[in-house]
């Protein structure tokens, strides 16, 4: 039986050099199979697999996962499978359970693959160690060989000699390097929430500009995925980044000249506007499975009819947005904004622009927190939905503020407050989802003209709305509890400490 160890990758030249001279008295030889296979390296847009030190290869109709521990798992997969959820049950699917179910597997590189073996033999020509070779020859990029040393029982020394030799002669452990970069130098690393460095002395103007200049590339990075409809997260990240930019403009008041701020807000809102409809439809479809579990079987036919209508509309809406993102007008606008925030000289300083951003942050966070506590104190079972909705918006603003400035606060304290805020937001989010869904389901039904299935759709949606209403009611109590915690003495003290260098607190 073969014992697996570390996996490496190495350039073709270096591999050939490896096989030239003897390795600790053993003779190396390279053997290549005749057959060629198709391969593709798969990963999510954020490269979650690479970052968790794994490699997913599609080879013909198989998928092979090299785990961080160096184990190779494999299973059959149907062609054109794009989501892990679509995999048939198997060891690879099981090992990929931690990936976001919303993220599609994208092709990082693809081409042909040759398999082979590096063999070390002794003076009797007995094999003492081997390495499985997979030469990846991408259609675009540099060829690279994956090397998986495989020991033979009783020849531990030879295996360790081989492994050391590979390591010292150009082999990079898969878990240590960036294979994607080796294949394609321009392979970029996408981060949806880039870390932003803010120096304590930095001015509000600089901080605002840095934040926006950092989020704009995130917006741009997601365009391709939205246009090609790779998965729904592209649009989501696209919108979140735009929303953060708008928040910078509205929360960091006075960073820029009042008029310019107003104009910028309008420009970013204009970018946001055409994306809303598609996102709403995405959310419906993502909720699809859960809607089915909420209503009895007899109501499923109505949901079928509704979701098939929604899917049609989504297709239209997606095509519309994709076309919009490809227009000259859109490209010109987004490029102009990128330029504005990277060149900076056309940004006009506002009343707060030269203040230290740390001071402003403390002030804003403290004010916002106090405001939330005040509002929260009035919440009871009878509070209208709109007031809870308003609270949710306040919490969101606080969350953005904290995220923008997180880096300048002491980590531990900050994390504990953020955790409490997140809990509150989760409840508020659920509450809001229920309420928004009820409204939008209602308006969906109202908007049905003489469409077929109108009757059964209305019936099913009616049943769904009733259940969502009950849920929303139940969530209310949780929100009250979460608020009670959030405005407790302990959290209040923490906020005070966090913002303490403002003397007037």
């Amino acid at each position: 039986m073969n014992l697996t160890s570390t996996n490496f990758y190495i350039s073709v030249e270096q591999l050939n050099n490896l096989a030239i001279s003897s390795i600790q008295g053993l003779t190396p030889a390279l053997e290549w199979d005749e057959n060629e296979h198709n391969f593709a390296i798969l990963d999510c847009f954020e490269q979650s697999l690479r970052k968790s030190r794994r490699l997913l290869l599609a080879i013909d109709e198989q998928v092979e996962l090299l785990t961080e521990e160096g184990v190779i798992l494999s299973q059959h997969v149907k062609p054109n499978t794009r989501f892990v959820a679509e995999f048939e049950e198997g060891p690879v699917k099981k090992a990929l359970a931690d990936l976001s179910p919303l993220r599609a597997l994208l092709t990082i590189a693809s081409g042909t693959m040759k398999t082979g073996t590096l063999i070390l033999t002794d003076d009797e020509e007995k094999t003492c160690a081997r390495a499985k070779l997979q030469k990846l020859i991408p259609a675009n990029g540099k060829a690279v060989v994956l090397v998986t040393p495989q020991g033979l029982r009783g020849y531990d020394q030879a295996l360790s000699d081989l492994t050391t030799y590979i390591r010292t002669h150009g082999g990079t452990p898969l878990t240590a390097g960036n294979l994607y970069r080796m294949i394609d130098h321009s392979c970029v690393n996408y981060v949806s929430k880039p870390a932003i460095e803010i120096h304590p002395e930095e001015t509000v103007f600089d901080t605002a500009t840095n934040l926006i200049a950092t989020y704009l590339p995130v917006v741009r990075a997601n365009e391709y995925g939205v246009i090609h409809d790779l998965d729904t997260e592209f649009l989501h990240d696209y919108r979140v980044s735009l929303r953060k930019i708008r928040s910078v403009l509205s929360l960091l008041k006075g960073a820029y000249d009042v008029n310019q701020t107003l104009q910028l807000k309008m420009r970013f809102s204009a970018l946001m506007a055409p994306t809303g409809a598609l996102r709403d439809l995405d959310v419906y479809l993502l909720e699809q499975a859960s809607f089915y579990t909420l209503v009895p079987h007899t109501m499923h036919a109505g949901l079928d009819a509704m979701f098939s209508l929604i899917a049609d509309r989504r297709m239209e809406e997606q095509a519309r947005l994709a076309a919009h993102l490809k227009t000259h007008r859109y490209k010109k606008e987004i490029k102009a904004l990128v330029k504005l925030f990277s060149k900076k000289h056309k940004l006009k300083p506002g009343p707060n622009s030269s203040r230290a951003s740390h001071d402003l942050a403390c002030e804003l966070i403290w004010k916002r927190y106090r405001k939330i506590c005040r509002l929260a104190a009035t919440i009871n079972v009878a509070t209208p939905d709109e007031e809870i909705h308003a609270l949710r918006i306040e919490c969101k603003k606080l969350r953005y503020l904290m995220e923008f400035f997180g880096i300048i606060f002491p980590q531990e304290l900050f994390d504990s407050i953020l955790k409490s805020l997140k809990q509150l937001q989760d409840s508020l989010g659920l509450f809001n989802d229920c309420s928004v869904q009820q409204l939008s389901l209602q308006s969906f039904v109202d908007g049905l003209s003489d469409e077929q299935h109108r009757f059964i759709i209305t019936q099913s949606v009616g049943s769904l709305i009733t259940i969502l209403h009950q849920r929303q009611f139940a969530e209310r109590e949780k929100i009250m509890n979460a608020f009670a915690h959030f405005s407790s003495d302990r959290i209040q003290r923490s906020f005070r400490t966090l913002c303490q260098n403002k003397k007037e607190l």
Partner: protein, 247 residues
């Protein structure tokens, strides 16, 4: 797990050649296989280019299960490991009993390296009379090469008598004709006679006298690995196919 012993009281009848090829066939069929070279001459190991291990000559190493596991060597083929030669009779006896006992330290040591075996093949040395009985009791199948000559017939019949005297079931005996030379009329006559007398014990597959098998000393690899389509290769494959049908 099954233990398959290749046994004959006589030397030079093709035990080692058979064990080596059967072991290869078992492994190639996907079974995790261990070939134990019990012959002090170490011929099985030789065919797999494995150097006799120093450790193995140390007395009573079987009392130390981990050291036993350490002396196992991977062959060049998937699923096939070799335990090189040089085990004294006492060790051999302990080895057999441990192999059969799922709770033994030996089994645990094998499991610890994720390598319990589906099949263990024993390449027995000739004249292990003192221990024959233990081999016969431990093995699930005893494969016996018989050269179709009068002398071999006598040896084979002696073995059957031994089984009967010791209350051992002859059902586990799987004999076959080895080194068969088609041209020799004596071979033909002996085959007909023995098959008629012992229809239950004698298999249909026959291994011809073949140069490929002699050449194993030079190629140092099983015939099934080097020339699977030669008459000898096909004969070993047929022997394997028939054997797994029977056990």
């Amino acid at each position: 797990m099954q233990i398959v012993a290749c046994y004959s009281n006589k030397g030079g009848v093709g035990k080692t050649a058979t064990t080596v090829n059967l072991a290869y066939a078992f492994a190639a069929s996907g079974r995790n296989t261990l070939l134990c070279d019990l012959d002090p001459q170490g011929a099985s190991g030789f065919y797999f280019r494995i150097k006799p291990s120093q450790k193995l000559t140390e007395a009573r190493f079987f009392e130390d299960a981990e050291r036993f596991v350490k002396s196992i060597r991977g062959s060049d083929y998937d699923n096939l490991d070799i335990l090189p030669a040089n085990m004294n009779f006492r060790d051999f006896d302990i080895f057999l009993s441990h192999m059969k006992d799922t709770r033994s330290r030996l089994k645990k040591a094998l499991k610890a390296v994720k390598n319990d075996y589906d099949v263990v093949l024993l390449d027995c040395p000739p004249n292990i009379s003192i221990l024959s009985e233990n081999v016969f009791r431990a093995a699930d199948a005893i494969v016996i090469p018989v050269i179709p000559t009068t002398l071999s017939q006598r040896t084979f019949e002696q073995l059957l008598e031994f089984f009967q005297q010791h209350d051992l079931s002859t059902k586990r005996i799987h004999a076959f004709f080895s080194m068969v030379q088609g041209a020799k009329t004596l071979h033909g006559e002996m085959i007909v006679e023995l098959t008629r007398n012992y229809p239950k014990q004698i298999m249909a597959a026959k291994i011809p006298f073949a140069s490929e098998i002699e050449r194993m000393g030079i190629t140092r690899a099983p015939v099934l690995a080097t020339t699977p389509n030669s008459p000898a290769g096909k004969a070993y494959q047929a022997l394997f196919d028939e054997l797994i049908e029977r056990i």
